[in-house]
């Protein structure tokens, strides 16, 4: 027994370790995905039932019908991602380089809002930004804003809501990347007469790219599919594709349309990710050496 079983066992270990993750993906991703795919090709209604009729026409049909909402979702999602990046990079930079022994506390501060439910936080913004609320109302009373000025129900409000929710997701990976930078690289750059600006642009920024890359992915993918922000902060023409999917599924019980929309969104995101990875795929330190 001994030698052979021991070797077999050794061979089996990696597979055994992979098993939970594999089962997770298989059971909770592949099976539902196949189900959604088949549902999207069905026709019928909630009373008579839906039968699989391989109705591929639904794809061009829903793209045609909801192209505005698709385009808007990508616009809002990407705009909020860009803003979150611009806002959070300096924050992450500061914590990583100047946080000292308070780093963990500062990170906790960034994460603190997450201890309150997402919906509650967005609802609170609705309260704060109300037309006659504590901010706009006061500014209007002292004449700093015209009386018909409003923030809610505008695309800006939706993008702001999405950005707000994304900030920690953007900050954390960037922080990790920055914190991992070997400080001797920066010292070496300084020794070689690189200015502060050059040290940042040619050493720190490239080395933090993996964090930026991860942050953008995390934020863009969640935000493009979001619907809470649009539902609570948006106006008559800020419907995102997530809102449409929700209405079609819950309210209309129109499962094929909802499924087709979800799959198109997913396909578009995958395609976008692929292009993004090819164009900006991250480089590691080795590639710079």
């Amino acid at each position: 027994m001994s030698a052979r079983t021991a070797r077999l066992r050794q061979l089996a270990v990696p597979y055994a370790l992979e098993l939970p993750a594999g089962a997770w993906v298989g059971l909770f991703f592949l099976v539902p995905l196949l189900a959604i795919l088949s549902v999207s090709l069905m026709t019928g209604n909630s009373i008579d039932g839906y039968a699989l009729t391989w109705n591929f026409h639904i794809y061009p049909d829903v793209i045609d019908q909801y192209s505005t909402q698709f385009a808007r979702s990508f616009y809002y999602g990407l705009a909020s991602t860009a803003i979150a990046l611009v806002v959070m990079y300096p924050v992450a930079y500061w914590i990583a380089f100047y946080g000292g022994r308070h780093k963990s506390t500062l990170l906790l501060v960034i994460l603190l809002p997450f201890f309150v439910s997402f919906v509650i936080r967005i609802l609170t913004w609705q309260f704060i930004l109300a037309d006659q609320g504590i901010i706009l109302g006061s500014l209007k009373d002292i004449g700093l804003l015209p009386s018909d000025f409003h923030v809610l129900s505008t695309p800006g409000a939706v993008i702001a809501g999405l950005t707000y929710d994304a900030l920690p997701f953007m900050a954390l990976p960037i922080y990790v990347a920055l914190d991992n930078i070997d400080r001797s690289h920066i010292e070496a750059a300084a020794d070689l007469y690189a200015s502060r600006r050059e040290q940042f642009l040619r050493v720190v920024l490239p080395l933090s790219a993996p964090g930026v890359y991860a942050g953008i992915l995390l934020v863009a993918i969640t935000n493009i599919g979001d619907y809470v922000s649009a539902a609570i902060l948006g106006g008559p023409s800020t419907t995102m594709i997530g809102n449409i999917i929700q209405t079609q599924y819950v309210q209309n019980a129109n499962y094929p349309t909802a499924s087709a929309l979800a799959l198109i969104l997913m396909a578009a995101l995958l395609l976008g990710m692929y292009v993004y990875a090819r164009a900006f795929g991250t480089r590691t330190i080795q590639e710079y050496v």
């Binding site: 009373i47 391989w54 909402q69 006659q132 409003h150 993918i221």
Partner: protein
């Protein structure tokens, strides 16, 4: 007969046993329907997606069953079924939030009911919306199982139409609710959506009209057409509900919704689209329209009568409600017993208890919607000493007010309903 057994039988559930998982709070439901996490998972497994698509052929045998013929058989003998039912001393009841008298977290009317009848009520204010509640219970009923409630409250509309058409409701045994025949007012008796109250009795009714802030509008509101007044540009609140939105569009055109045709629906949708595209509409709201009105985000809004009444009592005295001259929509929230309910006798005992004028007065004085029992008016005025409720046209409407109330269009089938939604949904989801 097998089909009969399948729904009539089923082991009764005692008071201590767990219900079938329907205590979903809305936040949890949102969490479940929202695909944030799963989308991140999607990314992780992105590489496999293409391969998966090829497996489609495996799925050819699939389908989703419809709800047709999952209810009680049409020929079922309900009177002999009722004669065999017994009181169990427990009632599981799903209602809407803030829809019963409440004092320090307790419900005096329910406590009095328990004291008088010995029936313990598990009161669950879990229904936030007809569509989402229906989406929760319909798969269970479709599987011919009980939803864990003996009494539920659903508004007249497409969901109720389906409950009745699928025969998912137990016809009421009116011999057990004599107080309904004795005390129910014209608003509650014989509604268009449920002739002879075969399946439902009114819990509360209400009016959809216009709520407004006279300080901001600068004038009194009298007409549905005021929702199209350019002076209120960007300050008009409309409802994100197909039926409410479509109905108000038709009232503005002078069409009575109950007898409208698809051609009328299209004209109404065109009018509503124009209102949106001209920038008049601030937002299409669910129940949150009342907050927008209170916050000053809107000056004039489609509104439900009871909400404005309650807002007046919670610090927003200036808000007003009007039944426009073109008419207000009359809606009913209805008590009904879902199929497979375990305690139907206890449910009817509560309904009978509820339809006594003193109990009505107790609840009405707190809820402030349209009261189904006219005799409660005198009790509220004299015994409870609350003339503002007793004299309100929105709680006890006079005959002349009654004449201005309109019924909703009753959908004739799913094609009819789908046509309506496909016409009005694009108005508020653009």
């Amino acid at each position: 007969m097998e089909a009969d057994d399948a729904f009539a039988a089923g082991a009764p559930r005692g008071p201590g046993e767990p219900r079938q998982g329907f205590d979903l709070d809305p936040a949890r439901l949102r969490g479940m329907t929202q695909s944030r996490l799963s989308r991140r998972d999607f990314v992780r497994a992105g590489a496999t997606a293409a391969a998966v698509a090829g497996l489609g052929s495996v799925l050819s045998a699939c389908g989703i069953a419809g709800t047709r013929d999952t209810g009680a058989p049409a020929s079922f003998d309900w009177s002999s079924w009722w004669s065999k039912q017994q009181k169990h001393g427990v009632l599981d009841w799903a209602n809407w939030p803030l829809y019963i008298d409440t004092s320090h977290g307790r419900h005096p009317s329910l406590e009095r009911f328990t004291k008088q009848t010995g029936i313990h009520v598990n009161y669950r204010p879990v229904i936030q919306e007809n569509a989402s509640f229906f989406a929760q219970i319909s798969p269970v009923l479709q599987a011919r199982q009980g939803i864990g409630y003996d009494l539920i409250v659903i508004s007249d509309g497409w969901e109720l139409t389906q409950m009745i058409a699928n025969r998912w409701l137990i016809p009421l045994d009116h011999s057990r609710i004599p107080n309904f025949r004795r005390h129910a007012g014209p608003i509650a008796v014989h509604p268009s959506f449920d002739p002879r109250n075969r399946y439902t009795v009114t819990w509360q009714a209400g009016i959809t009209g216009i709520g407004y802030d006279p300080r901001m509008t600068g004038r009194e509101i009298t007409s549905v057409k005021d929702l199209w007044d350019p002076a209120f540009k960007g300050k008009v609140g409309m409802m994100s509900d197909d039926t409410e939105l479509g109905s108000v569009g038709m009232l503005a055109l002078g069409i009575d919704p109950v007898s409208s045709t698809p051609a009328d629906w299209k004209r109404a949708a065109a009018l509503l689209t124009k209102q949106r595209d001209e920038g008049l509409v601030r937002q299409y709201y669910d129940q949150s329209y009342i907050k927008a009105l209170e916050d000053g985000d809107t000056w004039i809004s489609q509104a439900w009568s009871g909400d404005i009444f309650q807002a007046n009592y919670s610090g927003f005295k200036h808000l007003k409600f009007v039944i426009p001259k073109e008419g207000g929509m009359l809606w009913h929230d209805n008590c009904m017993i879902p199929l497979h309910a375990q305690n139907p006798v206890d449910a009817l005992e509560w309904v009978n208890f509820y339809y006594q004028p003193p109990i009505q007065a107790m609840i009405e004085d707190w809820v402030n919607y349209l009261c189904p029992v006219p005799a409660a008016k005198g009790l509220i005025a004299n015994k409870l000493n609350d003339p503002s409720v007793a004299d309100s046209q929105l709680v006890f409407p006079s005959p002349s007010t009654n004449r201005r109330l309109r019924d909703y269009y009753d959908f004739r089938g799913i094609d009819d309903h789908d046509e309506w939604t496909s016409i009005f949904q694009p108005v508020y989801q653009s």
